[in-house]
Amino acid sequence: MDANRLSQGQLVAALAAIALFIISFLPWFDISGAVTVGGTTIGGSQNFNLWEAENPLDIYLLIVILVALVPAALGLLGDGGDAPMASMATALLAGVGTLLILYQIFDTPGDLGRKIGLFLGLIACAGIAVGGYLSMQEDVGGERY
């Protein structure tokens, strides 16, 4: 395995994809409530990570992670070959993923609250999109690091 086989864009996208996968297990949403019984208020909250929240975003972001990681993994194993669509797919899917997470920040499902994972996920997904874009440009220029 030789990391030098990867372009700078592929490396950025792969690292951001690994970060997004780890972040997906942090709390993304929470729900809290309180009841008052006889003057005593009892409250509680429950956190949900990306996989626990009933939302198609989890499947979508898993696809984004795989699309970003597979070309890098193949490149590392020296079996990369030509994957002309890979950079474009990574940039496009991660760009839309960033929009979807941004949409969730402004319009959370139901009465759910926003947690740290949602914001870190946004940054990581944007990182994948930037990596994909850099990789696209490197493909056009034929430049490899």
Partner: protein
Amino acid sequence: MGRLSQGQMIAAVGGVALLVATFLPWVGVSGPSLPAELPGGVDASTSENIWKGSSLDIYLLISGVIALLPALLAVTDSAEEFSFVSAATLLFGVVAVILVIAFLTVDFPDGADREVGAFVGLGGAIVIAVGGFRAMQEEVAGAI
């Protein structure tokens, strides 16, 4: 419109079907119906389209617009090069098929019914993917 390839036209039809499907009911919940003359006697059945309670709506909107893009560009006579869009159409169509199937199986609300919009949406996504694939094949054949 004559500049559109067969694949681009297929994808555009799929895009229209997908966009129409987003306004049809996807999820239905049936409850007991009581005679109207009784107090509270109303049909408790209700249905929702995809625009409520899911981020799938935005993704399907983007997929539908991308599938329609070559047709829109041809109508406005504003572009000659569609190759990037055909690849994007295939990509977004395939992912849309995966997401709709996941929604209809894994993520579907318990006890709810699958309504016509979900199936029209799935069909539209499949047609977009097929159209995108054909458009790419036609571009490759045209380049040789």
